[in-house]
Structure formats: structure tokens, C-alpha cells
Symmetry: C2
Subunit: 275 residues, 2 copies
Amino acid sequence: MTEVFETIASLRLRLETAGSVAFVPTMGALHDGHLALVRRAAELADTVVVSIFVNPLQFGEAEDLDRYPRELDADLELLPDDVLVFAPPVDELYPDGESGTRVTAGAVGSTFEGTSRPGHFDGMLTVVAKLLHIVRPEVVVFGQKDAQQVFLVRRMVRDLNVPVVVDVVETVRDADGLALSSRNRFLGTQERVAALALSRALAAAEASAGSRKDALLASHTLLNDESGVEVDYVELVDPETFLPVGDRYSGPVTAIVAARVGTTRLIDNRRFQLG
Amino acid sequence: MTEVFETIASLRLRLETAGSVAFVPTMGALHDGHLALVRRAAELADTVVVSIFVNPLQFGEAEDLDRYPRELDADLELLPDDVLVFAPPVDELYPDGESGTRVTAGAVGSTFEGTSRPGHFDGMLTVVAKLLHIVRPEVVVFGQKDAQQVFLVRRMVRDLNVPVVVDVVETVRDADGLALSSRNRFLGTQERVAALALSRALAAAEASAGSRKDALLASHTLLNDESGVEVDYVELVDPETFLPVGDRYSGPVTAIVAARVGTTRLIDNRRFQLG
């Protein structure tokens, strides 16, 4: 039977006898991508803590906070029995409301996902900092699916000297290439097919990876051919800076894409060598 | 012989065998006020760590970063031999420059000291968060002299669930009432006399503590009578919120004052019951 903790105090008490801890922060609505993070965490420490918390601070006014799936019982069935689950109510993490101290992401936090979702990364970093202070793990495990999140968490850990190792697990995909996401359940049958354009556009970029221009042209061509997909951005960024690479750049890149399929906003990314 | 550590790695290694730690963050230029914090810290843990770091992030463009006194040898002579001193160069704490992740203070960070010193509290909280992550003390000791700093550090610790106890030591004063400050050394003989107006204005507020208006009138009258003192603000704030109290408020207050004496900006505060 999975142990579930709703208060910081009860979790802390339990962790006193838990040995080393690997931590997987989630917003619940778990899928095989999350379970890959949990398996990785289990390799890294004595005890795995999974947090399940839909963080209001990282949702904008017009976003899908209310719509975001919450299904704790189903989540618990998916998790191994020996995982410790931290599933606090909102006022356990924000007893003084949402004003006050924040962790802010700096310039990269206002690009790409941050352009479409103002304040998203500040809210994300703030709750990750809180959870790291509460759980105090040796290692925290994130999925590469959220590439900009991974970049900003790594940078927070370095910039603020947070005593934790960040471990990143490759994106888990369905057999046809669609990156797993809690939001995929919102896709209708046609939309589910159209959504494949994201991963195919990234594959097309890699196949045309002579230069940034070639790669982006290949992606855009594929995405524009897919009706029902409204592109937000496609770009090639330097993995070290998350800044777009120049036209003459050659070296490692992360190709990132965001698009709306029906009412559902999806993201994906793929890493390869350019030039 | 006091042990001095210039790198995070060397300090961390030493702390592995240090037992419990009480931490006193300072910008150096130590005086008896700092030494009171160190004595308090020694009561609270096995090992005392004092950081000496003039944090560029909390100084504005037009401020006295270059002028701020740096005198490590003199500081070391003042400290007990068994204190561990962390005195990193700037690039040990900011290897990637000063952009990137910040801890931000929220609304109270833009009032009073934050009005006169935009970004000051964000810079202060950022370095305090970094130092807490590096030193990982059981308790961190601050002086009440910097009342708004104390308020915001306490709130950061609560808002971000930082695992540390914040301990606050009363302001140490010269015999005539002047609050000790590293900046007092900039005062000329006449200015040193004029600077007494700050602590006297706060005492006058307490002596007229029937209402906010009476208390502030008493303070302003005293400060205005002192030529050479340019008042920045005088206010009575609620210790729980650091917001100005209303005219009909009765209860605990912190009276705060900031003024320029010659070219030197000084602050002071005093706590008492209003009404």
C-alpha cells in the first residue's frame, strides 16, 4: 500500500528513517513517462518520493488550471507500492496565499514557453525550490520532454547552489512517436493523428540538419501541411544557453516545438548535431 | 588561528565534521553588532560559520559598492579563533555573472529600503538563499538593525520552506544610542552628532505612542530640528506584515527610519506598543 502524505510535517517525520532520497516532482495524471522517472529514481537512492501537486502558481489566468486532470486514486495505482507520495492540498504549500517570495527565472524564463505562458517558469521554479527544501533529496529526476523546464531547473540549482543532483530521463513516446503528456487525453481521434506532426517536424529538422535554416524550413513545411495544428514556435537552441543558434552555428542543438492541436497545447523537443 | 575558506568545496569538506552549524552572514567591516551575532550563534550550535562577502547583487548602480569597506585581516582579528570564515571571491558565488535565477521579495521588497534601493532586497535574498544552500546551517542569525531585511528573510524561509531557523539579535548601540553600522565610519565628527537624531526620533515616537500620528509628528519634529539630516522615511509598520499601520491601530509596531547624514545613508528601528 503506497504511503501518502498530505502535510510537510508528516512527510518530514517519515523521511527521517528513509535513507537517501530520489525525488520525482509531478502534477499527477501520471503516465508511462512519469513511471520512467520513478524507475530511474529507484536506481539512484534508497527511497523514492513522488510529489503530486497541481501548482496554481505556474498556471496563467487564461490557462487550464481548472481543467488539468486530478485523479489521485488512479495515480496511486500506477505507482510502485514502496514509493512515498507527497500530495499536499494547496494551502499546505501556500498558507499565506500566492504573494510573497518567488524564485524568478531571468531572461530565458520569458522566451518560448515563457512567452506563451507569462510567469509560468517563475511559478514552476518557486514550487520546485519549495519541494526541494521540503523533501531534501540527493537527486531530483525530471523528464527531457519539458526541455526548457529542465534547462531552468538546472540553472536554478547552479545559480542558487541548491544541494541536489538533477537527473534527466529521455522523453517516453507512444509507438508512433507522440511524446507522452498528461494533456494528450484531451486529444480527439483526428487531433491525436494531427499531433504526430510535432515529433515528425523535429525528425524532419534532424534529417535536414545541415544548417539552422534548412532544419527550420523542413519543420515548418511539415507542420504547415498538417491542418488542425497551429504552430506557436519551432526553433533550434543551444543546449548550454537555451538561446537560438545562429545561421552558421554547428554543434549540438535542441530543436523545440510548441503547437496547439484543437484546444490542447503540446510541446516536444529533440536533440541532435547541427552542421 | 581562524580558518578561512574561499571556495564552496573547501568549506563543504570542512563542514562534514563540524556538527551542527549556526551561520552569521555578513558583508565584513565587522563591529560589535556583528560580534553579538557571533556570540549568539555560538550558543546555538557546535560550529559557527561567518560569511564575509560584499554582495554586488544587492547594490544599485549609484550605490556605495566600491566604497563599501573591505578589510578581511581586521575582520579576522575581531572574530573568535574557532569560527569558520567563508570569504569567497565574487566569481565563486557568481561564476555565470549576475544574470539568471533570482529570489525576489514581492511587494514588501519595493517599499522603504526597497524604494530607495531598487533591487536591493532581491539581491540580498538571492545571496542569502545561496549561502544557506552552501552552509546548510541549523540556524541563521541576523541583527534587528536591518528590520526589513529580517522581515523578508523570515518570509523567504517560510514561503520557500527553507529548512533553517532564523534567530534575531537586538541592535547593538554605542553608549549615546547610535546603532552600530559599518557605514558609521564614514561620518565626520559633526555628522556623528547629527546621526543621533535617528535613534532619538525613534525614542520620541515611543514616548508619544498614543497614536500613529502623534508618534510620527514627534519623530519628524525631532529630525527636522537637526540640520544635516535629510530624512528618507519615518514610519510605523505592523511587525507581522511590514505594512504601515492605520491611524487607529493599536498594538505592536516597529518604528523605522532612514536618513542621509552628509553622504552616508543610515537606518534604525525600534519596537514598541502603540495606543
